[in-house]
Symmetry: C2
C-alpha cells in the first residue's frame, strides 16, 4: 500500500452499514425488535433496480468475516481513512437512510434514534476522524425536531440527514420545526440521493435512468427553497446536496434568475436573484464527478458555479462508484484545491482544525 | 409598424386557440357535443397555478371581438407572421394540448381528430405559411397511430404533438405504434411543455417552481429514449423538445455519457455514447432563451450543445413570455444565425424552400 497523502482531506460522504438489523436491537424497544423480526425493517429502495447488494459496494470493500461492505471499521480505516489521509469523514449511513419514507412516523422516529445512537457508539466514538449526520423522521417534522434536539448537541453529530426523495419539497413550511432545530444548533441539513419515487413522467425502467433523475430532485428542492422564501425566513440555514451532481448547477441557477426577473410578483418575498440564495446557503459534493474532456470544460463550470465556495469533496466510499481523491478532479490551483478538499467542508460543518496530522504513515 | 425583417424565419412554436369549445362541434359526434355541454371538455392544467387566462397571453394579443388571445388569424398575421417575416409558423395549439391526459381514450381520440380537422380548415388552409403538429390520444398508442395515419399525410401536418407530461416516459415500448406511424410518414414528434403532474418530490407551490420543472421532464424522456434503445430501434425517428430550455443540455448529456461508460452492461443495446443519439435524433427550441451576461456564456453553451445542428428558433407567440426574433439571441455568425432561425427547422420538418419571399412589406 502506498504511503498516505501528505494533504489531509475532508470526505463528506462515507457509508457505513450494520452487520444486520440485530445491531439495532440494543437501542430499540422489545416491541419494535419483534416487529423487525416478524416483518423486516420495512426499509427498501422501493423499486427493484439492479443497484445495491454486491453491486453497490467496491469488490474490495467486503470484510473477510462475511458481513456486508461498510460494516468493518478496521477495513474502512485501512482502506480509506489512513490511505487517503482523511482528516474528517462524515458518515451518511446506508440501509437506514430511507427512514423518512416509512408510513409509521413513530416507528421511524424510534429507528432514527436507534440508528443515531448506534452510529455514535460504534463508529464516531471509535475514531475521532469520524463524524456523522443524524437521521431524522422527516415525515413528521415535530418528531424530527425532537430527535435533532436530543442528538444534535453531541459533538460527533455535524449535520442532519434527509433523503432526496420527499413527500413535499423541502422549501415548504411544514418542515419549519426541523429548520428551527437545525438553526438553533447551527447544524446544516445534508441531503443524500435516494428514496426518490418514480420520475414526474412515470416509472423508469433502468437503474441508469434513475441516476439521471438525482439532479432533478435536487433542482426541485432548490426551486422550492428559493421560491418559498426559506432563506429569507432562516438566514443562517444551510444545506449540503450530496451525490446529485454539480455540473448542472450554473445553468439551472441562470434559468431561475431569468424567471425571477419576469415572475417575481408571484413570490414577492424573494427579494434577491435566486442564485444568490443558493450560493450563500447551499453546498454540493463532488462524487460522482464527470471526467470531462477537454478538462477546461470542468474548470469553466467550476468558475460559473463558484466552486471555491460551493463545492465539497466526497468519495462515496465504499460504493462501487467511489471517487478516489487522487483522480476525482483535474489539476486545480492550490487555493481551489484546498477549498474543495477541506476548507469549504470545514466551514460548512464547523469542523475544528487539528494541530497536527492525525495519521501515522503506513508505509508499504 | 416597422417594416418586416428581410430575413425570413421559421417559428417552431405558435399557439392558436378556439373562441370556445363550440368551434369543435362541427367535427364531433352529437354524443360528445352533449358531453362537453354538460361537463366541459375535461381538459385542464390539472393544478391551480396562476398561469393561463389573461396572464397567459400578451396583453396586445387579445382581439377586439372579445374572444381569447390566439383566436384571430388576422391579428396573428399582422402582429407576428407579417411583422417578423415568418416563412413558416408551426401551430402547437393551446387548450387541447392536454388531450393525452384524459382518462377516456376514445373521447380523447375524438377530440384529437376534431382539433386536427379544425386546425387544418381554419388555420392551415387559410395561410400557406402556417403548418401544424397534430394532437394524438397518446394514452392509447393504437388509437394514436390511427390518427397519425389518418391526418399525417396532409401536407399541412408537419409533426405529431405530445405533452411533456406523460404516464410513462417516452422511450418505453408501449409507444411503438406511435413511432411506427411517425417513421412511416417521416414525421417528427414535437414535445411541448405542459400536463406535468407534481414533481418527483411532491407538489410544488408556485407557477415559477413548475417552470423550473419543465427541463426535468425532458431530461427524463431523453434518458428513457436513450436507455430503452429507442433510437436503435427507430434509426430515423426524431423529436423536437419545445419550451423546456436548452442551456441545461450539455451537462445533462455529459452526465449520461459518464454513467454509460460505467453502467452500460445494464442496457447493452445502447452501443454509442448517449449524447450521440441525442445530437442525431433530438432538436430543441429557443424560447424561453436566457439572456446571459456576459454573452460569451451563451455562445460557449451553444458550442457545447451543437446549436448549429440542434437548436431551432421559437417565439411562443402570443404567450406573455414571447421571445422576439429580434431580441431572443445575442449576435451570432451569419451561418449559425441561419441554422437556428430557419435551416435546422426546415430540415427537421421537411419544409420546402420557397422561391420568393412570402410577404409583402407592410410599411408603417
Amino acid at each position: 500500500m502506498p504511503a498516505p497523502r501528505a494533504e489531509a482531506i475532508i470526505d463528506c460522504d462515507i457509508h457505513q452499514q450494520m452487520t444486520g438489523p440485530q445491531d439495532l436491537y440494543p437501542y430499540l424497544s422489545k416491541a419494535y425488535q419483534e416487529r423487525i423480526r416478524l416483518f423486516g425493517t420495512g426499509l427498501s429502495q422501493r423499486v427493484g433496480y439492479p443497484n445495491g447488494g454486491d453491486r453497490g459496494g467496491r469488490s474490495d470493500a467486503w470484510p473477510s468475516d462475511g458481513n456486508p461492505w461498510g460494516s468493518d471499521l478496521r477495513l474502512m480505516q485501512e482502506q480509506h481513512l489512513d490511505r487517503y489521509n482523511v482528516e474528517y469523514g462524515i458518515l451518511l449511513g446506508q440501509e437506514y437512510r430511507p427512514i423518512p419514507t416509512l408510513p409509521d412516523a413513530d416507528y421511524a422516529a424510534a429507528l432514527a434514534r436507534a440508528y443515531n445512537d448506534w452510529m455514535i457508539e460504534h463508529w464516531i466514538m471509535q475514531d475521532e476522524r469520524l463524524k456523522g449526520a443524524a437521521i431524522i423522521p422527516a415525515q413528521n417534522p415535530k418528531l424530527a425536531a425532537q430527535e435533532i434536539e436530543r442528538i444534535g448537541p453531541h459533538p460527533g453529530i455535524v449535520g442532519i440527514l434527509m433523503p432526496n426523495g420527499s413527500r413535499v419539497p423541502y422549501g415548504q413550511r411544514c418542515y419549519d420545526p426541523i429548520y428551527d432545530a437545525c438553526v438553533n444548533l447551527g447544524l446544516p441539513i445534508v441531503l443524500h440521493t435516494g428514496s426518490e419515487g418514480p420520475g414526474m413522467n412515470g416509472q423508469e425502467s433502468y437503474y441508469i435512468e434513475k441516476r439521471q433523475q438525482r439532479s432533478q430532485g435536487y433542482m426541485g428542492h432548490l426551486a422550492s427553497m428559493v421560491f418559498e422564501g426559506l432563506f429569507e425566513r432562516y438566514p443562517t440555514l444551510r444545506f449540503v446536496f450530496v451525490e446529485g451532481g454539480y455540473i448542472w448547477l450554473p445553468t439551472f441557477l441562470w434559468h431561475m434568475d431569468e424567471d425571477w426577473k419576469m415572475l417575481r410578483s408571484e413570490t414577492p418575498w424573494v427579494t434577491r436573484p435566486p442564485s444568490e440564495y443558493v450560493f450563500e446557503h447551499c453546498r454540493f459534493t463532488t462524487q460522482p464527478m464527470e471526467q470531462l474532456e477537454p478538462k477546461s470544460r470542468l474548470l469553466t463550470i467550476f468558475a460559473w458555479a463558484r466552486a471555491e465556495q460551493t463545492l465539497l469533496f466526497a468519495s462515496d466510499y465504499p460504493h462501487f462508484d467511489f471517487d478516489s481523491p487522487e483522480q476525482a478532479l483535474p489539476p486545480l490551483s492550490d487555493d481551489l484545491r484546498r477549498r474543495i478538499y477541506s476548507e469549504n467542508a470545514r466551514e460548512c460543518f464547523n469542523l475544528p482544525r487539528h494541530a497536527a496530522s492525525m495519521v501515522a504513515a503506513t508505509a508499504d
